[in-house]
Symmetry: C2
Subunit: 356 residues, 2 copies
């Protein structure tokens, strides 16, 4: 008795069809364990992707479970079916403008379509993120939209959702090894275009300030920065690449460090607007003129960039576009009772103001 | 059989003791309906405070339900008891710095004490807020912290929590007619002190810019503004009191309107930092010097106030203090299985920077 079908099309378009008809529906973890002569705790671990189970055992267990038609968490799924108008959004931190705006706008979009939204903050902690995902089953959610922590590399804790047939979409930050639906920004291009804009305005010594995060999106921005310099035959200096911090004060410190170099930059790209504003504050107190002496570009299009003077030029990641795509991808899966693995890439756009 | 006891001490200290022992526990809405000869739908509406039920009928039904020992939502409560480490936070909007920071900090405080937090945004809509509160029962939450919408006057939709013995605490914005636990800011004093600070620096014509919200907290600020002027024998001019808008652009427009008056102000108090920054932007483009020609003060201590120049003087509502008090009030009730009606008032503080 097969209750699950996989139709693999391509890496980025992989369809999981939720079973429509259930026969018997009484296969438990113990049945699977008995069939294989393996302890039921091991079976449970393998099916939940928790704890240490040898890979070949895990494959064997999953194959047998599929063959027997094992369906986990029936009670939880029944609850979910009773309340299918709730969506969950999971973000690492609600304080940055990007996330609070995404969450708020997503809620409005969902509400117009008759869904309510519950929001969770993982605090950049993978353990917390896992607890949240585990709890979502009990909350009977119809779908999940998530941006993972900076340290989430694997997505095994999202498998529980997949097992329950609950669709999910990653936005902005996805685990590095995932086939799940995702809506990402072309971060490489964002940084590449920003550096190119500074070069076009005559700058030749361009520095890069990142946060301390090692997540893919920051690695992509760094790669875009380097590629733009290479393509314009401009030297890449390790002194001009600085990492660490998240706030205005970090930008101030980093700018000071850069401007004290013997060979100091004439352009600075920062991966967050708040850091870029710190850079501007330091430069102004040190009597540099912006953009004449030095150009500055940030990322995010945070309204804070309009408060400073000159107003900050920034790389915008269109939040309405990310919200729209995330919601559409999720809704499509909910309505079709299908889990799709699709990827949307949002083009970033430079918003020119006064710092280039 | 009485299962609920009320001990009324004073308006601000009203204790509701959750029943510890349950006898029988089989009284249903239909039993209450039969006893009174009223249709069970009416009884359900009256006990849930939903739909139209005549006030005297509602009182009669509630009295009878109490007398019979009716206890609603037993299934939901059982669930809740199984998962008592989840708290809910309900806010009108996650975008303003004040709310996103409160929610994020509350989550961290709760996490340290072993609680996880789910977050809801009512979008300033009382109907949405009601739906959220209704849903919290099913999510087995141990307690709720809420800041209500600008239009929430009554708190009847929170009664469901009370009926379930789920404690709740209002922070920043509470319904006007409530006896529930609350952590509020002394908004009257915040505005009073801000105006006094401007007067102390030599200003004599002080204007006030509010949002379009008619909530108590904005009325209190307006009252504080007026009282400070009265106490210093300074004229209150209706031309200098402007309402409407929430953002920087609104501040810019209002500042323009004020500065075009024949008798224009030399000090402006805005109820949000973002509005105050708009005021500063307009004044600078019109070549006014700040604070020499005109002083500006905002509310919230939004980091955006440090991005602008001069840096904004602001009335701070201590978020760590609000988070700490809200959490403590909630935890006390959860641990004691008691619903307390207690009120904490947080003293605001002026953060002096460059605009006074």
């Amino acid at each position: 008795m097969m209750t699950v079908n996989y139709l693999e099309c391509s890496r980025e378009h992989f369809i999981f069809i939720r079973p429509k008809t259930v026969m018997g529906d009484t296969i438990t973890i113990k049945d699977v364990a008995r069939e294989l002569g393996i302890h039921h705790v091991t079976v449970s671990r393998a099916l939940r992707n928790t704890g240490a189970v040898k890979e070949e055992t895990r494959v064997l267990i999953k194959k047998k479970a599929l063959e027997l038609g094992y369906k986990p968490n029936r009670l939880a799924r029944d609850f979910r079916n009773k309340r299918s108008n709730v969506l969950a959004v999971v973000v690492p931190d609600l304080r940055p403008y990007f996330f609070s705006k995404f969450v708020s706008d997503f809620m409005e979009t969902a509400k117009e379509a008759g869904y309510s939204v519950m929001i969770f903050q993982s605090g950049e902690k993978p353990g917390m993120e896992k607890d949240i995902i585990d709890s979502l089953i009990g909350y009977r959610v119809a779908g999940v939209v998530a941006s993972v922590t900076k340290d989430t590399v694997q997505e095994s804790h999202f498998d529980l959702l997949k097992e329950e047939g609950i669709p999910y979409v990653f936005f902005d930050r996805a685990p590095e090894e995932t086939q799940a639906s995702q809506v990402l920004v072309d971060n490489f291009k964002g940084a590449y275009d920003a550096v190119t804009a500074m070069i076009a305005s005559g700058k030749k010594r361009i520095a890069y300030i990142s946060t301390h995060y090692r997540h893919q999106i920051f690695r992509d921005r760094l790669a875009g920065y380097k590629q733009a310099l290479r393509d314009h035959k401009i030297e890449i200096s390790p002194d001009w690449i600085i990492e660490g911090g998240f706030f205005m004060k970090d930008g101030m410190e980093h700018a000071k460090q850069l401007m004290q170099l013997e060979h100091c930059p004439d352009g600075i790209l920062a991966v967050r607007d708040e850091i870029a504003i710190g850079v501007i504050k330091y430069l102004k107190t040190s009597a540099y003129s912006i953009p004449e002496d030095i150009a500055v570009i940030g990322f995010d299009n945070d309204p804070m960039g309009i408060a400073c003077e000159p107003e900050l030029t920034t790389v915008q990641q269109s939040i309405p576009c990310m919200v729209g795509n995330s919601f559409e991808l999720l809704l499509q899966q909910i309505k079709q009772s299908t889990i799709l693995f699709d990827k949307k890439i949002i083009e970033p756009k430079i918003i020119y103001r006064g710092t280039v």
